[in-house]
Amino acid sequence: MPPTKLMSLEEAVDRFVADGDTVYAGYLVVPFALTHEIVRQGKRNLEVVGASVVWPATELALGGCCRRIRSGYIQGALRPGPVQEMMERGEIQYEDYSNQAIALMLMAGALGIPFIPTRSFLGTDYLHLEHAEYPGRIPGYRRHAVMTSPFDGQRVVLLPAIRPDVVIMHAQRADAEGNVHSWGHQGDARWGLWAGRKVIVTVEEIVPTDVIRSDPSRTIVAGFQVSAVVHCPFGAHPGGLAGYYDFDYLFLERVLSPALASREGFARFRAEWIDGVHSREEYLARVRETIGPEMFARILAEPGRTPLAPPNYGYSRTLNLPKVQGETPW
């Protein structure tokens, strides 16, 4: 039996998130429980990377955990607030990329190659940022390079690989070995997961490894790449997760978005929803109480949207391969 990767949220973050780490945070399935635990433990000087990092980057910045952001989508629908001010003053360093760029940079990291070309960014003002000076610039960082392809003369933009020190992600289910099943549109999660040096995954359900292995095409990352698995139902709340729950727009509007608009708002949010809760169950009970059980029930996914014809992974046990005779042909 391979050793279990199962552990508590607290232990996973304590062991695998170190001050100064570059953290990849998924965004289609937002790892809110992990983000809150990082804030709770007071990790410092993290860099947040990911195609779109609106929620985790903002919470980590306001929680005093974040020194740097590289992303294609930082602010999203949030009103300009304290994080923009921190960026303007250079308290948070940042590089603006695009979603494709970050996805490809993570892919390069996953593939173990130093850079990757794209045909994006040509003709844009991003190409002028290489030599721009501004308070939030990452000192000495080479953000891209433009070159002509030696093979066909096409102009391309080279982007540096990203290898996150640690990946935080939430998914549907995993086994104790860390094999993770994930379904629904993925954003850049696959490449973040494989580019990371340490990987923490929270899941709705821990299942026997036979469940995972009976449908291995659905595995997004294999256990040998995963450091920790945490059983954490509603670990993406108030974000959504296919097959389980949708975005909790009411909670976002009433509670989280206003909390991210000011330092004081976040301090109150942190006291009530991060430092003031001792478990995810307590957090969820408070969510139900705050928005009401009926409104909470409205975000739950309807059951029964399962494949009409489950795939068959069957193979032939007999084959018809003739017994090999004679010498090796070469």
């Binding site: 779109s52 979603n99 994006s120 960014f121 003709g123 003002d125 501004y134 379904w183 949708d246 996914a301």
Partner: protein, 273 residues
Amino acid sequence: MVNQYAEDYTLAELMCIEAARLLPREGVAFLGLGLPVLSGTLARCLYAPEIQLCTEVGAFDWRPDPPTVPRAPIGIHDLLLNDGAAMVSDMVDALGTVLMGGHVAFAFLTGAQIDKYGNVNTLVLGEYGRPQRRLAGTGGNTEISCLAPQVFVLMPQEPRRWTERVDFITSPGYIDGPGARRRAGLAPQGPNCVISTMGVYRYDTPDGGETGSCELVLEAVFPHIDAETIRALVPWDLKVAEPLREVAPPTPTELAMLRRLDPFQYYLTPGRY
């Protein structure tokens, strides 16, 4: 006699409806975050059942069933995009394989600012490093504008959004005129189109950006709006087509479907888009 057209509608509703009428009727359509999701879903439901709707996060050929679809997706992350899609994958497939690999027929986008060459800004108002205001961010808008062979843009006719030169080109149109896309290393683009809350614009670019002025040309106006009104809201000497087409008001069918697709008024609450 039943009136052919609805009378009680907003200009933003007509913007979404007119765009849905103008979108191509076939091919892979890339929908960007915001109003294009609503308008593109409307097009798929009413006029273009053959287009394959895709988003940058990984849903391909999403098929809303017009009689039963509960809403247009809320954003491009809506989990309903997984239900009935032909393929669900990820961003490298969407913005890499499908977009950069050359499978997209047209894109449908929005942004904060547009200029006379159709360049769009999604990132920052004012100077980049010392901004008046940072905006949402570009997401996939940049590569979609670089790489899609045709781009349709929704842009409310608000003076703050229409500039002679956007503060920051996140998403190139024709950049600074004829030949600029080729010089930058980009493929030609067109026919492109901008739909505002008052009119429809094409470009003076007969061949994707090599010749012509590559400027926006006002091609049609909404009912009860004239070209001079729009010219007064645009800070450059806007070209106007002759003859100028008048956009038909919404039909009751169009308006009913649009409102059904936006049951929370998530998209069409005034001041929100």
